[in-house]
Amino acid sequence: MLKLRKKYVKMIYRIFLLCITSILALFLFRIITRSEKTPMSVGQMLLTAEEYIFGSILDRDGEVIVSGSRKGKLNWNSEEVKLAFDPIFGMNIEKNLLSRTTLLGNCPWIFGTEDSRWEFTDLFNPAKKRIGGSVKLTLDTDLQKYIRNLMEEKGYTNAYAVVSNYSTGEILGATGGIFQIKLHPGSTVKPILAAAVLSLYPELSDYTYNCVANNHIFQTGNGLLEIQCAGNIYHGKVSMEDALVYSCNGYFVSLMQQCDPEKISNQMAKWGFDTTVSYSQFMYWDHTFLNESTNETDYLMAAIGQANVSVTPAGMHFCTTGLLNHGVLEEPIWFAQKKVSPEAEWKEISSHEGTIFCEAEIADHVVKMMQQVTERGTGKSFYLPEFAAKTGTAQKADKEGNLSGLYTVWTTGGLTDKTTPYSVTVCLDDVTNVNSEDAGKIAQKILQYLVETEGGK
């Protein structure tokens, strides 16, 4: 008969100890290496937000914009500051959490998601308050207030503006749903198209077009297409520069007919059209160019920023910023430093490498042409020295596709002087006035303000 020896029982106990140790070791390994840490779900973040006192949001000068005083209670710097920042912060976290198009959606640590309570000192402080982290923005409070007041003075409700330093990628001011709303860009797409065409067909830089009545009817696979220039004006024989300066629609439609649609479409993808665009600090709805359409009319209408072309104000701004910065878009950022808890140190948030849109020579050439827009073209009413810009007006259609009589007017551009590397995009939506002067004048005032205040400092 076999006896149950004590040594077996001891062995079983040792195996048990070994198992427990292994279980804990694997658990601790995964914790320490953070190899299994995944983002919180919306529900978990909401619960965390309930547990923690809201942290602080500071502007680029370190001035507190908003902070939490107790659970669920916020203290704004002032009512004016609240009105200036609220739309882009997305303070309604139940609606905006993880949206990636609002500040709070991109800075969850403000709700305490990155708080760590494993410091040795925490062991002796069980009642330590749970307060979220902080973020220091690249946005300037005074500039933000200035932009908002400017829009309010003019009485525009659906107005969007983005201001940035194109040499660093820092966004200095933003108002409205710049990441969310997608609109037809109208003629503001022309500088991008010009750069795309020049990248593919350098020989077309000398292409000319005779802007007369007969030449405004274009032969397509779907029949004849008539496209007029703004105000039914005929520009006569125009070069690329003139076409951009006077916003000649016929030139760009004709230019597009010289190019292979597929190649143009692929080139536009480099600028973020018909592809997914996302940066480390936010994402915005994808721009569209042809949007998978193979219809030739759509392709030609795309030359003037209509048909399937759509872009967010932020997206348009980043394209212009890339042009102004010699074809390279520095990664756009709107927060520069973070602090995961009140006791933690401020940490710089590193940005990624820039995105190359086109060659520097091509970008500089297009920017030079854009400078002429404010000197002698459609933007001369808001001239500023070194101000390279492009205006645009897009007709809006109702749900049935009929013209609604409303317009989206744009101005996008920036100062070419290296000491004032500021770019601005202003978009006024649902306006009844065809003239894009108002958008340009707002852009001009914003740039003047930036120059006078040395970038809002």
Partner: protein, 420 residues
Amino acid sequence: MLLIIYMMFSISLYFWTVNSIAYDSVIPKIEYMLGIILLATFFSLLWRVDKDKLTVKGILISGIFMNLGLSVDYRVWENVGNKDLMKDIFMRYTADLILMLTVFGVLYLLVGYTRIYKYRIWNYLLLLVLPIVIYGARITGHKTGGSYLYFGGIMIFGLVLMGFPFVAAWFLARREERYFGKKHSVKNLSWNLVGLLIYTFLLFGGCVVCNEFGLLLVLGLTITVLFMINCKNWLSKLVYAAACFGGAVLAGVVITHLNNRILIWLRPSQSYWNDKLAGQAESVLYVFRHIEQMGWWGKGIGNLSERIFPTLNTDHVLITMLNDYSVLIVGSILLLTILFVRWLLQIPANLCLYDRYLNLVCGLIICFIILIDVASNLGSFITAGIGFPWISDGGSANIMLTALMSVHCGLIRKGNKQYA
């Protein structure tokens, strides 16, 4: 002294718990207090009857776990209104506690003071009953979450594991008169071991048809240890190990939900991005996401959401402890668990072979339940749906665990008495 320390812990935990969550009704407080009084009274009585220090230590540890169970039960108490109030009172931990202590008392007296449990008729009856329970669950039971878990309203997990130690001990304590192989050698596989294996495989079959893989796992691990201890033939051990390994791999590949759990265990973070697994991996991923915020002192009793963890008072009670109570409490629980297992595996001197095997199998079952629960809570093993002894809610499982512990206590008493 031990009783005073125990009472201090018990009362402190009570005040910590009731101060953390306030309900409109006083019933949860009364229930909790009743549980504490019941436990204190029972332990005082037991220590008067059995003054053995060894027994006292084990009982004390289980008492601490039961107190934590009462606290967790209070934490998840919800006032459901007068309609279900009576049901709510009698289906909760304190009501289970009365049953647990009754079972403990009865079995302790039976094992410690009599030989009834060794009667052949009792063991034959159990041999017959266990397969009936498992297969009966499949035939008569209702499907709960894809499994047939109940027979006659009681969980088969508790019923089978309560009877299995007696059956296993009966097989292993038989006289080994016949052996496999041409040579009549004790080094060959004995027939009683083969009998136990066949019987266990019969139970395994029942587990598979009932989809009760938690029970299969505990039974499988227990029988493996018993086989490895008893079998002296290396070839048989090798064949057995290969068969187990093959069976486990086959089950992991063929059974979809097991396969999913294995994938989650191996790389929890990958499961987050896998749409097929995402919902199932949340319980594991939660700990890795929130451990930094839990810190030394946890987030406070009542913090963990039932929306995220519907099983926060049963299968995932250790996560509740980690999140709500404190990592220090969890650490203490694990330390106490190690001491408890050590206590369980101690074989009192002067016991007959049947008693010694009975004692070992009881210990092994509790050991594996603890290991599986701790590992699956911490993401170091597949989610197995097994609760932590006495802290988790679950009447039949806790009664089974109390029964196994009472067998051990009874055997300690018997061993000491025989020695004396």
